[in-house]
């Protein structure tokens, strides 16, 4: 039975002990195939041992230096990096628990009072509306030259309706005759103030 490549390699390295070493020697002498395999391995070893091993030391030192430099820089960054200015919305605010509790209480009171006053306002407005529309008409007419002309309701109408315009209709005596005497004129009469 022929030995495996690993065993031949171990034989070449002198790692096979007696009595197996002698037996292998005898086999290599008898078996031509194994003898050729051993010869191939021997020639390969001599070929490899002929080339000098390249000197990796300088390259390794360079890599080590660079690694060391980068690691040191990273450490420096961690140690001495100044605090970066974050935008307002990204900043974290640390509030002590009592302050947070106080804040939430203030917010709650604010919300509660807001809704409370809104409700009161609505009630007041409803009351006012009811007073305005259900009670006696409010006496706000403006007596001018003995005539009651306008009241608050008209004023409110004016304000609510942009197209609303006040109108005064004056009926002239039917038997009167008029002529156009010229261009319309505006004259200043007096200044009371």
């Amino acid at each position: 039975m022929c030995p495996k490549d690993e065993l031949i390699s171990a034989f070449l390295d002198g790692e096979v002990e007696a009595p197996w070493e002698e037996k292998l020697k005898a086999h290599f002498a008898e078996c031509g195939k194994c003898g050729r395999r051993l010869a191939d391995m021997c020639s390969l070893r001599s070929l490899l041992s002929r080339d000098k091993e390249p000197n990796y030391r300088p390259a390794m030192q360079r890599v080590q230096r660079r690694l060391y430099f980068h690691m040191a820089a990273a450490e420096d960054d961690i140690r001495y990096q100044p605090e970066r200015e974050l935008p307002f919305w990204k900043r974290k605010v640390r509030i002590p628990m009592p302050a947070a509790a106080l804040l939430s209480l203030v917010l709650f009171v604010l919300f509660a009072s807001f809704f409370f006053f809104m409700g009161q306002n609505n009630t007041q407005m409803a009351k006012r509306g009811a007073e305005l529309y259900n009670s006696q008409p409010v006496q706000v007419t403006v007596p001018i030259n003995g005539m009651k002309v306008d009241d608050l309701e008209v004023l409110l109408k004016l304000l609510n309706n942009k197209d609303f315009s006040q109108e005064v209709l004056m009926q002239l005596p039917d038997d009167s005759q008029f002529s156009v005497f010229g261009e319309p004129e505006i004259e200043r009469v007096n200044r009371e103030r």
């Binding site: 203030v106 403006v142 007596p143 004023l155 315009s165 109108e167 209709l169 009167s176 002529s179 004259e187």
Partner: protein, 173 residues
């Protein structure tokens, strides 16, 4: 410190929009009444000798920018007069009165009516009286009449005050 530097301004910012809702409606109503004005119009028919043969008074409440329309009808004439007051911010209590008149007149019986339109403006102050002559003021024949409108603008609140003074203090029920 964080509480005062960051939380408090944020809280104030948060609360500011709500503050408007809590306000009463009174200020807006007040400002409205501040703006309101009364236009007093006294119309007279003047004969050739300058005497008033007929007169008619009226007043309307309005606010700057909204017109008061005066319609005069009778005889051979129809006048539609738009009186629009505007606030003149360059003068204290200043107003600019713009009058736009449209006249339909039949000067000869049986003939078609004549249509005239014009636009006039005048600067005045509150309380000042002006005279407007829509048919002009040149010499006129004795059998004809001229129209004179005496216009005065007063703040609405002033009329209220004078009314209150006349009425006296309110009686308790």
């Amino acid at each position: 410190m964080i509480l005062f530097k960051k939380v408090l301004p944020a809280l104030l910012l948060f609360c500011t929009p709500f503050s408007g809702f809590c306000q009463d409606d009174e200020p807006s109503m007040d400002s409205l009444l501040e703006q309101a004005i009364v236009i007093r119009i006294n119309t007279r028919l003047l004969s050739a000798n300058g005497k008033a043969g007929w007169s008619f008074s009226g007043a309307r409440v309005t606010i700057p920018g909204r017109p008061v329309v005066v319609k005069l009808q009778g005889g051979n004439l129809q006048v539609k007069l738009g009186i629009t007051p505007y606030k003149d911010d360059t003068v204290e209590n200043g107003m600019i009165l713009v009058t736009q008149d449209e006249i339909w007149i039949t000067e000869t019986p049986g003939k078609q009516a004549k249509y005239l339109a014009s636009l006039k403006s005048i600067k005045l102050v509150m309380g000042e009286t002006i005279h407007l002559y829509p048919l002009g003021i040149s010499t006129m024949p004795p059998e004809k009449f001229n129209i004179e409108l005496e216009i005065q603008i007063v703040p609405y609140k002033e009329t209220q005050k004078s009314q209150d003074k006349k009425q006296g203090p309110p009686k308790e029920k």
